[in-house]
Subunit: 304 residues, 2 copies
């Protein structure tokens, strides 16, 4: 019996997204929740997945393709890593079946850079890359995928040559929430915010070693110049993004600039940072990219 469609799942550390996709590629059902790995480790990956499939009444013959943390060691089944240099097509070829399930479930592996001087891993972003660039991408691309753990990836002729992860998003979270600067984090008006953000990007980009001082200046400025804690949140964010860009922007930029794979606020901030530094950027929506990547995998695996 041939499938009439399939289920695509993006399973992050802190979020879960599921789509039912019919044979024509149309989304006919969708689920979103906070049941990322952190929660799923406790409640069980298999039962989280089943509950969402049941909620949508997904036909049992529809197979499931998953990317992200469901393939981690603590996940549904370990899907390992493809090592760099990793052709994007190999992600699909190395998909792992989940045993003992009533339906066909495949998990896409991550990518590992087994370089003792610069070890690195990704899990989920490889599927965004596949969706953003396609299986047979020509030429060279520098891709920036911002997030909790931002990735900067070099892809040449469809092969991931190398990548670098920065803890930018996670550092922002703990600094804005857990340090003395948390008292300073309140809103200003949007124009002020973006100006503060841009200044912070430039300051950290120009003198990255000062990062831990530039952060403290959020507090010093408030103590000495008083008044409203203007744009503290954007200053912290700009400092950390400027620090990331100081290391990640290649000395020699490819002609097509940087490909940014992001959504929402992160997309706005990174686009603003690139503009401030006069870097050419083209943007691809991150959710579109992961869905397209999962579709590419489903089509290759099941000839849907």
């Amino acid at each position: 019996m041939s499938q009439a469609g399939y289920v695509a799942v993006d399973w992050g550390s802190s979020s879960f997204r599921l789509w039912l996709v019919d044979r024509a590629g149309r989304i006919v059902g969708e689920r979103r929740s906070q049941e990322g790995m952190v929660m799923a480790v406790k409640s069980g990956f298999a039962s989280v997945l089943r509950s969402h499939l049941d909620a949508l009444g997904a036909a049992n013959e529809w197979p499931v393709v998953i990317c992200g943390m469901a393939g981690a060691r603590q996940g549904l089944v370990e899907a390992g890593y493809v090592d760099t240099p990793a052709h994007l097509a190999s992600i699909v070829e190395c998909a792992v079946s989940v045993p003992g399930q009533s339906r066909d479930i495949r998990i896409l592996p991550g990518i590992a850079q087994r370089d003792a001087r610069a070890p690195d891993v990704m899990r989920g972003e490889e599927t965004q890359l596949l969706g953003a660039l396609g299986r047979d991408a020509a030429g060279e691309a520098i891709i920036c995928l911002p997030g909790t753990h931002s990735k900067w990836v070099t892809v040449r002729e469809g092969t991931v040559e190398g990548f670098t992860t920065f803890m930018t998003g996670e550092l922002f979270g703990v600094i804005a929430r857990e340090t003395i600067l948390s008292h300073a984090v309140t809103g200003a008006d949007e124009a002020e915010e973006m100006e503060a953000f841009g200044s912070a990007v430039v300051a950290a980009f120009e003198t990255p070693a000062l990062a831990a001082n530039l952060l403290f200046q959020v507090r010093s400025r408030q103590l000495l110049y008083g008044g409203k804690p203007s744009s503290a949140r954007e200053t912290i964010s700009g400092t950390l993004i400027g620090l990331e860009l100081a290391a990640a922007l290649p000395g020699k930029m490819p002609g097509n600039g940087v490909t940014l794979v992001a959504s929402g606020k992160l997309r706005t901030l990174y686009e603003a940072a690139f503009k401030t530094l006069a870097v050419v950027v083209r943007s691809i929506d991150a959710e579109d990219a992961v869905r397209r990547g999962l579709s590419t995998a489903a089509e290759a695996i099941w000839k849907i």
Copy 2:
């Protein structure tokens, strides 16, 4: 009635230390607690101080000299800041009396750097500087005072010319405790730990812009090379200290090197970092320094 002695208090953000010092300079009583500013704001600075004085049975005619957060806006009474360039003697001259108390209580002010491009503040460290260098320090000194908020200070002929704060200690705390790296933080043997620390210092010192990646490598290395989470804590610490040193170490070092004012584990780590980078350092115990600074102030104020 002349005083037979005085009380010295070092009131930090998270700690409280009090000494009774007799006319001959001997410590005749001591109290330590976690009632730093964070706790004292809730229970009341005056009652915290009173409880410790009562516990030691401190004579009512003994006056009290305090440095640190008791002089903050939320403290016992605001003691303001002396602006840079700030002669160390001016800290004593600008001590503020606490009104409405049964005994003579003076709080030493902090130092502010009112430079819109590099605003900075210290409160407590000025007293350590006074104790470490004396009121009439000759020549130039670069002083490093590591901690929650590490300070690097340039003093010339007894005058604080400028300083820079790095959030190194606070960043270490939140990263080791609140991020994904917290899972990796467990002990290794001490030789391994110090080797990991030294490597991390050098890596961040050489390429400070990579700091947020060097931190993530703690996790990548563990995922890819498995085994024990060797020395993760020291790698985080070394990365943040290396980042600080990349900005703080002056291009032209004074002949006497860096003066380190630190105690315990921090002293061990910073001494190791300086050794790794072949920087000449002389160490002064931080607690000795603050006590000596408070004594210098008491002697000047009350001619004890």
